[in-house]
């Protein structure tokens, strides 16, 4: 008994709207909480970015604050702190990209070469764990290990050596940041490369070995090309996220290292806007960051398409 109240859901049938509604109203109902969430906690704040074009006063609100055009961006342009934050953001992003990105690939190649499954599982269990720890916890663990009163410096003092200010030296801060990132996420980032490595056809290796290719040539001509798609994908995601560098990590360490080295665009936004009360400058910096970040992501993705890689936002039917 095929009732007309349950027409099949096929993408291409041109039902009238009322019929579709009768068929799908429950599904639409299911969408409502999520859509309300998106409207209130995403699209409303996106619109709220208009305060970047206002002389925003909290007691007047968005409706009554005065518009001042691009004045806030002009002020940012003249603000040396903003340029410091921008420079630090770009520097830290570049250092992270160069020093962090290759680590999980290297780790995955080593783990993949292990013959013993038991050893492999052990290492994975340990290496994935830090990803699930909060940044507060990670920075605390680093401080307890490397800080002025931490156990490494305690050992140095016992040995009669001068303590090394790992945690407070602004010059080496980018390296510290990368070390923390490697500690927390290198193991986890490895997972996706390992998954990609298992999809490589073993007969390729076998044939190459039979033809006399050694381990390095097999890696260069088989393993790395097979990882290309995944590497490009992750690189794009990384680039889209590059201006966010790791916000909590910086806000937690800004006091101990000083804003000269640890101020990034996000912390600038927070300290200028929420802490300092200069809402409009903060919002302007935040908006600039968001727009540039979106452009970078889009640019990286189109570049990937040009290079013949699928990228993240795939074209339909491709």
């Amino acid at each position: 008994m095929l009732k007309s109240s349950a027409p099949k859901r096929q993408a291409k049938v041109g039902l009238p709207l009322a019929a579709k509604w009768r068929r799908d109203w429950q599904m639409v109902l299911l969408m409502i909480p999520g859509v309300v969430f998106l409207l209130v906690f995403f699209y409303l704040p996106v619109l709220g970015n208009v305060v970047a074009f206002q002389d925003f006063q909290p007691y007047l609100g968005i409706m009554h604050s005065e518009w001042n055009g691009l004045q806030n961006f002009v002020n940012l342009y003249d603000n040396p702190d903003f340029w410091d934050a921008l420079r630090n953001t770009l520097l830290l992003a570049a250092v992270q990209l160069l020093l962090f990105f290759p680590v999980p690939i290297g780790l995955a190649l080593i783990v993949d070469s292990l013959v013993s499954n038991k050893l492999r599982r052990w290492f994975q269990t340990i290496a994935y764990l830090p990803h699930f720890l909060s940044w507060v916890l990670v920075v605390t663990l680093f401080q307890q290990s490397l800080g002025g009163a931490g156990f490494i410096n305690n050992l140095l003092r016992h040995a009669g050596l001068d303590p090394i200010p790992f945690m407070t030296n602004p010059d080496t801060f980018p390296l510290l940041v990368v070390a923390q990132l490697v500690w927390k996420d290198a193991g986890w980032a490895m997972i996706i490369f390992l998954a990609a490595l298992t999809t490589i056809d073993v007969s390729l290796y076998e044939a190459a070995a039979a033809d006399g290719a050694g381990r390095w040539r097999r890696m260069w001509h088989i393993t790395l090309p097979s990882l290309r798609t995944v590497i490009v994908l992750l690189l794009i995601l990384r680039i889209g996220d590059i201006l966010s560098v790791g916000f909590e990590q910086f806000i937690l360490q800004r006091d101990s290292v000083g804003p000269g080295a640890a101020e990034v665009l996000d912390t600038f936004t927070y300290y200028a806007g929420v802490v300092g009360g200069d809402w409009s400058s903060g919002a302007a910096a935040g908006l600039a960051k968001g727009v540039v970040g979106a452009l970078l992501l889009w640019g990286a993705n189109s570049l990937a398409h040009r290079l013949g890689e699928p990228g993240i936002f795939q074209r339909r039917g491709a």
């Binding site: 996106v46 709220g48 305060v51 909060s134 076998e206 070995a209 937690l252």
Partner: protein
């Protein structure tokens, strides 16, 4: 088993591999062990070791008794547990409903999907978020830690990809038999996707437990602080806990107490970690990422 074509690695290679992997693992494990040991150490152990203890020779749970004895930390644990449980429940409900509804070719499915995917591209920014939360009257309310995290785009994509792979014929036949979409979701789709729902739930739970910046941004009232903010204030920034904040007299050696705070933040994660690992190694997450 080593395949026949694979040459046996030279001792040099093996040594380098062991060094890299072993070193990486030790660097992860040692700080965690030292923290746990120190939290269990007595004052005498700490003085003997000059601060940090590798192995407590006189283990004691005094630090934990102090922490759980009430006061700021006891409340913080309650706050964190509440936010994590309620947050995860709400987030799962919202995400499952939206992911299922957009996983089928239905009315409004496409535009709503695009609405979600756009959030991956652009972040609204700290200041507008703060203004919205303030406008809603959520400042200094625990809901400010829960509601803004009720839908994660990544978790949405994971669930939706999984739901899309549930065979359409199965759902159509249930519809023809007169099952409503709610029934299909509850009786067919959810039972089929228990594992992935569990993983997504754990991801949400870990996220809520670890959230720090939202609390810093939205909560001024110290009695509503979650564990992560306490950890930052009293361990990272080294402010001391006063007697009335603790509810009891503070110990003479603060290290064990501080490390106990670290352990409290760590333990729930360590408890769910085995489940997380079992499921994500089955390829639930990586499969979704690839799709």
């Amino acid at each position: 088993m080593r395949p026949i074509w694979k040459e046996r690695p030279s001792p040099g290679y093996q040594a380098i591999k062991a060094l890299v992997l072993g070193g990486f693992a030790l660097v992860i494990v040692i700080p965690i062990l030292v923290v746990i040991s120190t939290s269990l150490a007595s004052d005498r152990d700490i003085i003997d070791a000059g601060g940090y203890v590798l192995w407590p020779s006189h283990p004691t749970f005094k630090a934990y008794q102090t922490l759980f004895g009430g006061g700021l930390m006891g409340r913080a644990i309650l706050v964190s547990v509440f936010v994590t449980l309620v947050g995860t429940a709400i987030a799962l409900a919202v995400t499952i409903a939206l992911a299922y509804a957009t996983s089928r070719p239905v009315l409004f499915g496409r535009p709503v999907l695009l609405m979600v995917l756009f959030t991956l591209l652009f972040a609204p920014g700290i200041i507008p978020m703060f203004l919205v939360v303030k406008q809603l009257g959520l400042l200094d309310s625990l809901w400010s830690l829960i509601l803004p995290g009720a839908l994660g785009a990544f978790n949405f994509v994971v669930l939706r990809t999984f739901f899309m792979n549930v065979p359409g014929e199965l759902l159509e036949s249930a519809r023809i038999d007169g099952a409503s979409d709610f029934t299909i979701l509850r009786r067919i789709v959810l039972p089929l996707s228990k594992a992935v729902v569990a993983v997504v739930g754990l991801f949400y739970a870990v996220g809520f437990w670890n959230a720090f910046f939202n609390a810093l941004l939205y909560l001024n009232d110290t009695s509503k602080w979650p564990v992560q903010v306490i950890l930052r204030t009293y361990v990272l920034q080294g402010k001391s806990l006063s007697a009335d904040q603790l509810g009891v007299h503070p110990p003479s050696q603060p290290q064990s107490l501080q490390m106990a705070v670290v352990v409290v933040a760590l333990v729930p994660i360590a408890m769910v970690y085995p489940f997380l690992q079992r499921h994500f190694t089955k390829g639930v997450i990586t499969g979704a990422v690839k799709g």
